[in-house]
Amino acid sequence: MEQPLYLIPLFPLIGFLLNGLLLGRLGKKTISFIACTSVGLSFLFGLKFFFDLLSLPDTARIIENVFFTWIPAGQFHVNVAFLLDPLSAVMVLVVSGVSFIIHIYSIGYMHDDAGYGRYFTYLNLFVFSMLMLVLADNYLLMFVGWEGVGLCSYLLIGFWFEKKSASDAGKKAFIVNRIGDFGFLLGMFIIFWQTGSLDFKTALDPAVAHSVFAVGGGMITAATLLMFLGATGKSAQIPLYVWLPDAMEGPTPVSALIHAATMVTAGVYMIARSNVLYMMAPATMAVVAIVGVATAIFAGSIALAQNDIKRVLAYSTVSQLGYMFTACGVAAFSAGIFHLMTHAFFKALLFLGSGSVIHAMAGQQDMRYMGGLKKRMPITFWTFLIATLAITGIPGLSGFFSKDEILWKSFSSDYGSIWIWLIGLITAGMTAFYMFRLVFLTFYGEERMDSHTREHLHESPKVMTVPLSILAVLSVIGGYVGIPHILGGDNRFEKFLEPVMKGVHHSVEGEHALASAAHNGSTELILMVGSVVLVAVFIYLAYHFYIKNIAAAGKLRQRFSGLHKIIYGKYFVDELYNAVIVQPLVVGSKFLWKIFDVLIIDGFINGMAVIIGDMSTGLRPAQSGILRTYTTIFLVGVIVILGIVLIFG
């Protein structure tokens, strides 16, 4: 079915161009009107096409829109073309919906900022790029969005460019992402030269893929691993997660939109999109699952000891993204996307809530100087609490359904194992602990801020609290589209995505996993209850340390001061990268320049020049400058030549 899908990304692009080209000439109202309307329109068009899609029969749920030929070179041929299938429909709705809410929120949050117009310009560009990413019908166009969102992330992290830490963070994000993109590029090359196309239709056709790749073969493993490298960059997984915590230098709505809800999930989307290929490379699947779960617990543990409210959330995001990759790694792609969606709601809410807090605290981000905000900012508090409950997986809220499905799949799937499940479970406990630590430190207890800040504490304006409320609602109900069978639901979300997950159904193992899932109903229930109990225990622990017995936390910290130092220092990974990669590169480059270029190559050249120059100096007296000497020598020369002619001629 052909539909004008380009309407979805078109409006943010127009908004970007309008705001960008007329920068500095528009009033704040106009700017925000343009920006919000454009994103709102694309959300509406997204909805329209989503319902168009629903009206189609299950098996034919694909809307296409070929725009023009982008790069033709011999057999290589790539279009600018869009594709809407259930997977991208989910993404489009999440992206444009959350973006719209955050745009509204930003009107309030950024109101007093000097770079108001610039901010919305970048934000619209981001939405455009992200929609390109999810709507693309081939890998290359997806890569355009992929890099485009990276660029916007760079611009928005470094939004307050006068702060060196901000522009540093932006640069770091871009370069680390580039390392991932390097993998993405090479992965694309393999896919193109093997399947002859970068179009999803061809390259991701199971029949084509099976005809050119051997299951578990070197080529497919290399391709998927390289693509996964791209995903680790964009979605902040080990070893390329380091940029995301630093990315918190950007304005908080940006952290909510880009670094929690949408951009960082692009890697998950990409892997889910390429499920056909991933399912053919079991080795890669194992790597994905292990990296995912390792990142989850690693980042979760770092989050335990951070004091900056946004950093806790950032590490939490890394950790939750780890969950999503774990899901992909155990072939539960739709569970990963499900978690992606619920996470987008509650994590955006958490960030916006923290933004509201920071706004009220006049920029203070350190939780040690907060406390007792519950009374002063009730709406923020309640919405924040809902999101916290959602992320910890309290039954009935969205996070519960998605997280539990991942844990169950990692236990039951043939690709999973009990160890992955166990680590995932511990991470869930950690999540509960650090999230409630955050809530208790921020909203409960005594007010630790200075008196000046205290006087100015206030609830945020409506333009900020209404988005919070909307997201809170979504955080609660977002999970009900995918109630698992065991709880009496029929997991409509997974069913809806089924046509895209061709790889899962194509491979025998996948079917087997599904079958076993249906059979072990009681196990699933037991595990579910177990994880809820564990979460409750950790919430109590947080309550114990940060409300009831504050001294105990300090004692504990002293007791394990070494461990605390390591965790607080984020395992010193940044320092390690700096010492092992960055410094040698800089020093080596200086060596190449000063020693190799200047000393050796130029030394050789200039040395030749000096030698010739010295030889010439030796001959210089011959050039006396006296005209008659020259003519005399000239005549003697003539005589000699004539003589030679006479004698030998």
């Binding site: 290359l140 060196k164 090479l186 090359f189």
Partner: protein, 524 residues
């Protein structure tokens, strides 16, 4: 008229010089206006030519072939295919832009400067249209002279050193080329009894492998110095740093392309067997250039020399793609030539603009310009990003096709080459951060004037091209495809021939070689 379009485009700037001779040297504005108008009209001619160019036909178009020095078989033989068409367009566009950009920068010797610029334009276009080796050589050398003066007279503090280094490096290579060219001349006579320098005829000459190797090396060295391929690059940073802005733009934008064009026009189709043998060597040097240029660029303190080293890196990509010897790689290589001309040219213009304001190019002297010069910073960022190769800018199309092609021919090369993509982001963004981001630390930077209308006029066409090639490169790719296919078919034939030769054990090659030796003596 249609038949003479190439002659017109090539020599129209010379007409401008004649006009300029009648303008008194104190009337600066008239001189500038005349040169700009001449360059602009030439741009219009070239656009007309572009419009008339048949995009699907293979072979040369607008051919002109009249005897020049008939005694030696030298012909005035011009003609273009898709590759040279694009390079000519690049030349005329950059030349026009450079005329505007030099408006305020040049204060002394204005007349001589603009005469040199116009002469340079003729020389550059001449190289791209010549189909006669002798004519090619004449233009190749002719363009050295104005460039020498532009660097040596209107350059920076070490201008003489830089100018002489530039000329000596180039001359060293081109003398070898001259020898090789004469060798070919006599060899062709030996085969057919006809004296000619005609490239198209030389394409058809079966050159024995042994001789090909040496001639290829001689030509390749001349071109490699011009490109420049590592390790022949050290003249480039010096020349760029010392040259005036316009000189740098033309140098990076067009002059370097003459080297790569030489490879594509002469080395590949004329010596395909030798080319195949030298693929590993050139590819490895290109990769070293990519990585080395990027690394060294990273630690530069002068913005201009940073951009100069980034050129080494980018030209490494061009060479890598070309020697992938497949359609994607070579098309990417050609489009990357254009891209590099646009992006790096724009970067040099931008550096020049800031230099006019602050009279320094040291990175450490800047910082926070985004605050005082937002428009400037926006342009700077766009151009930098295109240089990094962000999708939907021109750089991406080129780099992607190059790496795609290289991947098909050799995976290791592609992987190594792709690291350049990462490093490009490193050095460019680091530079960007130190120049336009951060706090304003130097009081001089606080009240800098943002770009005026003239400067915007200079940059906007380039930015439009950056996005045009990035988003809709089809018109360009389509025009070059027949030409690239022509060249590749020659290389393919050579592949078959080499394979046959390996199967047969009798030394055909050596017999040919001996025959050649006698032929040569006859010729002399």
């Amino acid at each position: 008229m249609e038949n003479q379009i190439l002659t017109l485009v090539t020599f129209f700037p010379l007409m401008g010089i004649i006009l300029l001779l009648f303008v008194p040297k104190t009337r600066h504005d008239t001189i500038k206006a005349v040169s700009f108008i001449v360059a602009f009209i030439n741009l219009l001619w070239s656009i007309w030519m572009y419009a008339m160019f048949d995009p699907v036909a293979s072979g040369m178009q607008f051919e002109v072939n009249i005897p020049w020095v008939s005694g030696f078989g030298i012909h005035y033989h011009l003609g273009i295919d898709g590759i040279s068409l694009l390079l000519i367009m690049l030349t005329t566009i950059l030349s026009t832009i450079v005329m505007i950009s030099s408006w305020n920068a040049i204060k002394t010797g204005v007349k001589g400067y603009f005469i040199s610029m116009l002469l340079l334009e003729t020389g550059m276009i001449g190289v791209f249209v010549s189909l006669d080796l002798f004519l090619f050589y004449v233009f190749w050398e002719a363009m050295l002279i104005p460039m020498y003066f532009i660097i040596g007279v209107w350059g920076g503090p070490r201008k003489i050193y830089a100018a002489i280094k530039f000329v000596l490096f180039t001359m060293f290579g081109s003398l070898l080329m001259l020898v090789a060219l004469l060798y070919l001349f006599f060899m062709y006579h030996g085969y057919t009894g006809e004296y000619t320098f005609d490239m198209l005829k030389m394409y058809e000459m079966p050159i024995p492998l042994g001789a090909q190797t040496y001639i290829f090396l001689a030509f390749a060295l001349a071109f490699a110095i011009k490109v420049p391929i590592w390790p022949f690059h050290t003249w480039l940073p010096d020349a760029h740093v010392e040259a005036p802005t316009a000189g740098s733009v033309i140098l990076a934008g067009v002059l370097l392309k003459m080297g790569t064009y030489g490879f594509i026009r002469i080395c590949l189709p004329m010596f395909p067997e030798a080319t195949l043998q030298f693929v590993p060597l050139i590819s490895i040097l290109a990769i070293i250039g990519i990585i080395y240029g990027a690394l060294v660029a990273m630690v530069q303190r002068d913005v201009k020399s940073l951009v100069a080293f980034s050129s080494v890196s980018h030209l490494g990509f061009v060479m890598l793609g070309m020697f992938a010897l497949n359609l994607q790689g070579m098309e990417g290589s050609v489009i990357q030539m254009i891209n590099h001309g646009i992006s790096t040219g724009a970067l040099f213009l931008i550096v020049g603009m800031i230099y006019e304001r602050r009279h320094t190019r040291m990175i450490a002297d800047f910082g926070g310009l985004s605050k005082s010069m937002p428009v400037f910073s926006t342009f700077f960022m766009i151009v930098t990003l295109s240089s990094i190769g962000l999708p939907f800018t021109n750089g991406f199309v080129g780099e992607f096709l190059i790496l795609l092609g290289t991947f098909a021919s050799n995976k290791v090369y592609a992987v190594l080459g792709a690291t350049g993509v990462i490093l490009a982001a490193c050095y460019m963004l680091w530079m960007l951060q130190r120049v336009i981001f951060g706090k304003i630390t130097k009081p001089e930077n606080e009240n800098l004037k943002d770009l005026d209308g003239r400067e915007k006029l200079v940059l906007i066409p380039l930015v439009i091209l950056i996005f045009w090639i990035g988003i809709y490169p089809k018109p360009f790719l389509r025009r070059m495809e027949p030409a690239v296919n022509d060249i590749l078919s020659r290389v393919e034939q050579a592949k078959v021939k080499l394979a046959e030769m390996e199967n047969k054990t009798d030394p055909v090659v050596y017999e040919d070689d001996r025959q050649l030796g006698t032929v040569e003596i006859e010729g002399e």
